[in-house]
């Protein structure tokens, strides 16, 4: 049977389905932004932005752009009722202090032990720029990664050992890719969901670290 990669939209929806009501969540730049766009209006999920906004919502497009209401990607945002503003010191205390229930981040690589590399590819021409990623991964109660299972060149992004500089060691709890949902449990990988039609052997061959499989592996469809 042929298999299809999950769409980004579907990946975001799978993440949303796993976020409990009332959770405090920080969404990283890139793919995780779609999680915010998929949140149903009737659910109270409280979005945190590192620049001190807790309770971020969509920008009011009927008003002119307000530079004092932006997210970390410099995009306009709004405040939902119940929102609060803090300075950077308090905002990062929330992150490092274990108050955020969840952060969803993009990644270059995740290792079989849950090491995360998402801030620098180590290229000589890179300007080192870490932002808030290292604070998020040490503090958030759960760290989810959303990324494609393989690079465009077909290389595994789930690897035995990250070749890129680490953001944090052993920090990732769960990986959502376009092929699978993988939990990091006690330093090893357990698949809890796979796209329809993909075999375990095929998934392992596309993955750079050894996989275990949960008793119940969900079948993921677009």
């Amino acid at each position: 049977m042929a298999w299809q990669k999950l769409s980004r939209q579907r990946m975001a929806q799978l993440v949303v389905d796993d976020i409990p009501e009332g959770a405090y969540v920080n969404l990283g730049i890139g793919m995780p932004v779609m999680v915010g766009e998929c949140l149903p209006k009737d659910r109270e999920i409280i979005l945190h932005s590192e620049n001190g906004i807790l309770g971020m919502g969509p920008a009011d497009t009927s008003r002119p752009f307000d530079t004092d209401l932006v997210n970390a990607s410099r995009k306009p945002v709004g405040l939902v009722p119940g929102a609060s503003i803090s300075d950077h010191v308090v905002s990062f205390a929330m992150m490092r202090g274990g108050k955020l229930d969840l952060t969803v981040l993009g990644a270059f690589q995740v290792s079989g032990k849950g090491d995360l590399a998402n801030w620098d590819t180590g290229a000589a021409t890179n300007i080192p720029s870490v932002g808030g990623a290292m604070d998020l991964v040490v503090g958030a109660k759960q760290v989810y990664v959303m990324m494609e299972h393989n690079t465009r060149e077909g290389e595994a992004k789930v690897v035995d050992r990250c070749s890129y500089p680490l953001t944090g060691a052993g920090v990732v709890d769960r990986i959502y890719t376009d092929l699978a949902i993988i939990d990091v449990i006690d330093g090893s990988l357990t698949v809890r969901g796979m796209v329809e039609g993909l075999t375990r052997e095929e998934l392992q061959s596309l993955t750079g670290a050894p996989l275990k499989f949960a008793a119940q592996v969900a079948v993921l469809k677009n």
Partner: protein, 228 residues
Amino acid sequence: MLDKTVATLEEAVSGIADGSTILCGGFAGSGIPTELMCALLNQGAKDLTLVSNNAGNGRLGMGELIAAGRVRKMIASYSRSVDPKNPNAAEFAEAYVAGRIELECVPQGTLAERLRAAGAGMGPFFTPTAYGTQLAEGKETRVIDGVGYVLEQPLKAEYAFIKAHQADRWGNLNYRFAGRNFSPVMCMAATTTIAQVDEIVPLGGIAPEYVMTPGIFVQRVVVVKGAQ
């Protein structure tokens, strides 16, 4: 729907186990969560460690808990009564002199910083306060650029008891004047922060820029009208 309000003081203090550490907001009679402490007296938890700037504000609340032998240890900056003629911490003094309660005396700013370190997810820190004094004895020290520092440890707790002015159902809080004192940092340093408030306002009733404690630091809210 996220709703942190609870209906009664009894519910607010439910589940607090023997041996818990509880941060108690307040300074010099302002911002004292007296009714929460009274509710804890009824709830029955014992072998407690209380963290508070002062060791009581009259008999009600903390004084009663201490008199009832429910407090094993006090962590405070100023445990004496300010005015011996009208003592605010008589029950503590009696228990302390009788050897029934342990005291850890912490400089007031170091107390705030130790709570902040815990709340902000930091490890230990070097502070110049108390260097060269007996309150630094036994602690790691370091001299940097000619200034002496003492290594102090984060101070976290299972619970914080807080008195605030207004709250919404997400737990956003504000405080009146100097009723603020230790409360914001204690909200951050506890796993479960329980706030007694004068009133609940609708979500959005506290302007986002004027929220003094964001709701993420608060787990339970209970209204106490006409609090002490």
